[in-house]
Amino acid sequence: MRRTGQYELPDDLKPMLRRAIVLEWVTIAYMLSVVVMLGLVIGSSQAMRTAWAEDILSLIPPIAFLIASRIRHRKPNERFPLGYHHAVSIAFLFAALALLALGLLLLIENAWKLIKAEHPSIGSVTWFGEPIWLGWLMLPVLAYSVIGPVVLGCLKIEPARKLHDKTIFADSQMNKADWMTGLAAGLGVIGVGLGWWWADAVAAVAISLSILHDGWRNTSAVIQDLMERQPYKVDHTQPEELPERMRDALNRMDWVEAADVRLREAGHVFFGEVYIVPRAGQDLIERARQVKRELGELDWRIHDLTVDFVGSLDEEGG
């Protein structure tokens, strides 16, 4: 089968990709330190355990991104003539499903503990010659677990938008929402300290709901991506205007009678078809080259276009 050309990121975006990769490595290192520190003070607080699970899960998007960013730039070959661009979406599908499953599991578990009115015991540890209530240690560790992700989440938005990378975007959204997890867990711990046994389970339920929400949003987004629905902006809020811009550019060409396009997203690039009703007496091979060149210059994400000349835009199929 004929292969598509190898995709190359434009030179001006390469530093942005490097920045994204560094940010994701920093995220992994930071979250690992959070997981270790939270693990040390976790006690039998459900809210802490749930926040801990969320922090472990937040390792998945950076890892998915780093693995996929290696795979997706592989050369298209005989077996994969369209290249490896969908690797990102598939990696992300697994991450989203993991979130969904764990969110559900934790929600059921914590709701059950609330119903059974289980009283969480938070004991003491001996540090610096003094028995210290573990709750006092949880609060600074929670604060530490929140600061890094929130800063990193904000730093990742620019690379996500510029690179049109939905994995980085979803990751940044999860990071930015992390402060709510930290706050909920902190309120749970303080509530337990004040003698409200239910505070811990209520906080844990809130955190599981947020995990569930992340999982649901990401699963639905990535499934729509894999279904090749019309290209959307990286934040999934509205469709790309690129198809209209392409149509306008085509209609401005004086030899074009009528034109339409169809685009699909593969990871962060677009594949698509261009349908043109030409006026009579054109050198169509040269015109097709011109169309690919000029439309390709509209946006760096346009990777592979097929140009089809038709008698009318109403023709079925093609």
Partner: protein, 161 residues
Amino acid sequence: MRCALLIALAGALTACDMPRDPEGTLSDVRGGVMRVGVIDQQPWATYDADEARGVEAELVKRFADELDAEIDWVPGGESTLLPRLKRFELDLVIGGFVTTSPWASHVGTTIPHATTYEHNITQKHVFATPPGENGWTHRLDRFLYAHRDEAQRRRLAEGAR
């Protein structure tokens, strides 16, 4: 959310007597009665003729003195005393519990009051407290920490006997 954060911070700063008990064990025991489950286990605790003895029983008596409380000893086995502890019908259960016991995650445990090393196993000995009574447990932790060396001495003395 910002509002909740402020309230939480204010709560944390003003509430320096954290942690507190959901079921009020510490305030009930202070100047009142401490209901202590005793599981027969030499040399930690034994029950004989209405009186508990052993390393842990002696510590409990000292603790009750500190809180100005009477002790109501309740002898029994693990299978009856721990469910009663979970239902807040007892304030404390003693009798050679260690941190690795399977029920340790269902009730509260204190900091270790003694560490033993037998048959290549290091074991940290604790008391069992009602689940979630964190104020009560923390008060007991502070008592046990203050008497830590003494507890170890008594244990050695018992072992040598």
